[in-house]
Structure formats: C-alpha cells, structure tokens
C-alpha cells in the first residue's frame, strides 16, 4: 500500500461526499486565504515604502539637534557646510531645514497655517527630480546656491498656496513673509491633498533669509552622502563633528535613510507576524474541523476498517490511510485557499488603485514563500489533526469492527 494508492483512495473517498468535504475544508480555505492576503499586503507595503525611500534618496543622512538652543554650544550652519567641503569623497551637500515662524501674506490674505522652511539648494536634487522629502517641482526652478549667498528675496511655493493665493499661476508674482516681499520662482507639485496646513501649504526660502528674518537657527540638517555605500561613513563624520561641538552624544541623533528604512521594515515585519499569527488561528480551527469530521468518518467506516483488517491490513496501513485522507483534505483546502487568497490580493490591488489613483504604485503581491508556508502549514495541520482519528481507526478490534452495523 504505497503513497499514490493511498492518495487515490483518499480522493475517491472525498469525492463520494463532496459537500461535506468542502465544508470540512472551509476552515482551512479561509485560514490559508487570510494568511496569503495578509502576507501579500505586508509585502506590498514593504515594496511600496522602500520605493518611497528610494525616491527620497537612499544616500540621505539626517541629523537632528535635540534640546534647547540657548546653551553656549550650538551648531553654526557654516560649520556644516565646511564639513561637507572637507570630505567631498563622502558628502556631496547639506541643507539646514529651518522652520521659520514668519507670517505669510498675499495682498489682504494671511495664511496662518503655512509652513515656512529655510533650505539650501541641496534640498532639491535636480538630477533625481525630487526634494529630500520626496516632493517634485511643478513649475519654474528651485532655490539656487546664489539665492542663498546673495540673500535673494525669492521663494518656492506649494500647490495649495499657488491655487489659493495666486489662482493657479504663481510664477513671477510675489507674497510677503513678515512684511518682506518675496518673488515666486518655482511651484512644487502636489504631494498631499492640497489642503490648508498640509504638505502642499508650504513656502521655501533661502536659509540665509530665514535666519535673517526669524533669528532662529536650524535644528535639523539633511546631508547627501556621495552614494548609498558611503552613507554609513558619512554618518560617522557628522556624528564626530556634532560630538566635537556638544561633547554629549545625547544632544543629537544622526540616521541614514537605510537605517530609517530598516527600522520601518522591522516594525512592519513585527506587525505582519502578529497579523499572520491571528490569521493562522483560523487554520487551527480548520484543523479541529478536520479532526471532527475524520472521527465521524472513522465511525461510519468501522465496517470497512474491519473488512480491510480481515484481509490483512496492519494497524499502520489503516493509520496511514486515514492520515493521508486528512492530509489530502487539508492540502486541497490549502490549494483552494491559495487561489482565493491570490484572487483577493489582486482584487485589493485593483480597489486600491481605484481609490488612490492609478499612478499609485501600491500592489498587494503574494510572495512565493508566503504561498509555500501556507500550503505546508495546511498539510501539516491535516496530518496532525488527522492522526488522532487515524490512530483510533488503527486500534479498532477487527471482530468488533466486522460486526459493527
């Protein structure tokens, strides 16, 4: 009695009561589908986030200065520029990110919730076509090196301001920042939902102007390393420089984009593991369903078991037959569940692209490892939960089984 024979026999016995077999499999089908959907979503989210990080620049190194700025130790913006010049093989640029508390006006309108940021030309990479925070330029140009050096009164506005303040054509027009007129030289593309206070409600001005008008200094610096590979070394350089200034490693945090991505991925992995385990609970329930129906099946087929024993079937032959039958039930359930899961993942991708817009790159992609694990687990559950009923069948006394009505 080899595997193929047992398998064929199992298929035969399942097909004799199709409705019951399907209902038995349902727990496994739902469990496997849930696992596939969740792992697909998780994988899709990871791919999506990594793409977003790539577009921000995987060579980015962020330095945040913590605590009060009024102590005698503080970072001079020019020191950071000097650092970049000293190590051109590691660092290709830096921009402070100054949040300047300036009043934004255009004519009689005042925009109280607009974010005003002082940055250098490094903030926007022309070759990559995005800023260090992932925004794209829609019209005109971004701030230049000369703008900062000569403290030019020019600015770049977000999509919200262009629409609300300038009626859709901001280039060449001007607005005032704390009373000082600035000419709009560029407009950023939509990056949020174009509402007040969102990422589209923003004004960029040369950092030198931001310092001059607000008197605040920068508490955040965004460095561009020469490449992704040099980013860790660049991080070390920035940390060393900051330690020289503060003599206290608690006053600053320096992170590479890769580290931020790793941290995010770790969190996402944890979240997905927890969700997958919850989904796997329904696999357990499915397994109990299989055990239940196998126990019924053993009772119903007591006479068949007796006949087989009288013809020379050993206890292990009978056990093997029922274990294979349980395993086959859950394996078929697993395959159906995988199909359902893949279908649902594609449907989700389609719905998300409808809701979020077709240029959105989020896709729920079923992973091969997820599929293999789901299938393996479902077969294992069938065999595991089938063992108890199979063992019961194997231990039946042949005479009692033969006389069973």
């Amino acid at each position: 009695m080899n595997f193929t024979q047992s398998f064929r026999l199992a298929l035969k016995s399942l097909s004799t009561s199709k409705m019951r077999s399907l209902l038995t499999m349902l727990g496994i089908i739902i469990g496997v589908a849930a696992v596939i959907i969740i792992t697909s979503l998780g994988h899709g989210m990871q791919v999506y986030m990594n793409e977003q990080f790539e577009s921000l620049g995987s060579n980015q190194v962020d330095a945040m200065i913590l605590g009060d700025n009024d102590s005698s130790r503080h970072v001079d913006i020019e020191d950071m520029f000097a650092l970049v010049e000293r190590y051109p093989q590691y660092l290709s640029g830096v921009t402070p990110e100054i949040r300047a508390p300036l009043t934004v006006r255009h004519g009689a309108d005042e925009f109280t919730r607009t974010t005003v940021k002082g940055v250098s030309e490094t903030y926007y990479s022309v070759e990559r076509g995005t800023s260090m925070n992932g925004e794209k330029l829609a019209k005109g140009r971004f701030l230049s090196y000369v703008d900062a050096q000569r403290q030019q009164s020019v600015c770049v506005v977000g999509a919200y301001l262009e629409r609300e303040a300038f009626g859709g054509s901001a280039l060449g027009k001007s607005l005032t920042l704390s009373g000082v007129p600035f000419t709009v030289v560029g407009v950023m593309d939509e990056c949020a939902d174009v509402t007040e206070g969102s990422g589209d409600d923003v004004v960029y001005l040369p950092y030198t102007q931001a310092v001059r008008l607000s008197g605040t200094t920068s508490s955040e610096y965004l460095f561009a390393a020469t490449s992704r590979e040099t980013a860790p070394a660049a991080k070390g350089l920035v940390e060393r420089e900051l330690f020289k200034i503060f003599q206290d490693s608690d006053r600053y945090v320096v992170l590479t984009a890769a580290e931020m991505m790793d941290a995010m991925n770790t969190m996402l992995d944890l979240l997905m593991t927890i969700l997958t385990l919850i989904a796997a609970l329904s696999l357990l329930v499915g397994g109990i369903g299989i055990m239940n129906i196998m126990l019924v099946s053993v009772t119903e087929r007591t006479r068949e078991i007796g006949i087989r024993k009288s013809l020379g079937a050993k206890p292990k032959n009978i056990r093997w037959q029922f274990v294979i039958e349980a395993g086959t039930t859950s394996a078929i359930g697993g395959v159906l569940g995988i199909g359902l899961g893949i279908l649902a993942a594609n449907l989700l991708t389609w719905i998300l692209s409808m809701v979020l817009g077709s240029e959105n790159s989020f896709r729920a992609v079923p992973t091969l490892s997820g599929i293999l694990v789901a299938f393996g687990v479902s077969v294992a559950i069938g065999v595991l939960f089938g063992y108890l009923p199979a063992n019961k069948a194997a231990k039946l006394n042949p005479i009692d089984a033969l006389r069973y009505e």
């Binding site: 004799t16 024993k309 009288s310 013809l311 079937a313 033969l402």
Partner: protein
Amino acid sequence: MEHLIEFRDIYKIYHMGDSDVHALDGVSLTVDQGEFVAIVGQSGSGKSTAMNIIGCLDVPTSGSYLLAGIDVSTMDDDQQAEIRNKMLGFIFQQYNLIAKLSVQENVELPLLYAGVSAEERRARAARALERVGLADKRKNLPSQLSGGQQQRVSIARALAGDPSVILADEPTGALDSRTGREVLAFLQQLNAEGNTVILITHDNSIAVKARRIVRLQDGRVIYDGPSDDPRAVVQPEEQEEAAV
C-alpha cells in the same frame, strides 16, 4: 504428520459483570490439508468464537492454536494481520465488499496489503474473477451485482491471495436457496481442487455438504466425525431423548 490447524485445549472466557462466560471450554481439534469441515452449532455454541480464533481475528484465553505448525495464539496485531493476509481467505455472510471500490479493486485488496505489484495484482484478480465466472463484471460496483454475484466476488477475493485455508462464515445465510446451493457447490468444487475449506453454519442441511462435521455446544465439541454419520445431524435434545 503435521496438521494444518491444531487446537490444543483452547479456552475463551469473557468476563460479563460478575460471571465468566466460557465461549470455548477446552476445545481440541485438528484439521488437515485438503479437508472440508463444517463447524456447526446453535447461536451461543461457540462456533463464532472458534471461527474468530481460526481466522486470527481473536486470541484464546488459554491453550494454543497452531496454524501450519506455527503457534499463532501469542502473536501481536501485525503478525496476525500477516497470517490473515497470507494464509486465510474469508467468505462472510454479508459478503463484506467495500461499496465504493469496483469488483476488481475489492478482489485486489488482499494482494495490495501483501505488497504485490500493480501488474501482478491485476492479473491475479482477473484470474480469480474468471474462476467464479465474473470476469466481465470487474469494472462494476458491488451494488450493481446480485447477492449471489456479490458472494462470488467475495469468494474470488478469498481465492486471490492463494490462502492455505478458506474460512466461510454462514456463506449462504443471505442468499435464496438456489444461489445458496450454487455457492455451496462452488465450495465443494474448490475442495475437490485441493483447497482446505472450513464452513461455519447453524444449518444442518448446509453442514452435510461438507465431508466432516464438528458440532459445538456450550463451548464443547459434542460430535466430530464424517457428515454421513446419522449422529452428525441429530440435535442435542434429540440425542438426549434417544438416550432415554
């Protein structure tokens, strides 16, 4: 000469609450190769227990049972299964065919458990079905056959494994008298071809078709001799009356 079947003082005792029931109460008997023996008795006589022990479906409480010189009364489940598979062919009152398997597959079952290759199984099952005259029904399901045909399938199944002993438990009990006679004629033919046949029945008219009768009553052998002896078919009560 070595006997094919030898019971040495076999007891089978069931515990029913406080009392013990002696289903077999010291039975000794031998069956030789080529015999046709009917084990006869009323219900409760111990004939079913005797058949279970001969068929290695049960073990005696005490005493020993030798099958072809091997003591099988102390064997474990796996060894007994092997003996059933290789040495015994069962024919049951209710045919005991597996409903969802075809006639051919049913006949192949003992060969399947014996580990015979698929090709040889098919050939041997086909030969066995030919012997019972059902070669053309091999693809049918048991439910598509008449009772007599089903019993012939079960005979083919018993023959397929080429056993040393054919054990028939009330083989005609579920059949009308005409098909019952056919089945008995077939068992006689098998015996004439050299097979050892043991028939278990309560019916004297069937038992006399065998060449030897062993009559059991209350777990004891009360007659063991040729079937044409008048005492073989006499009911115990009648014997008592005769004695008076």
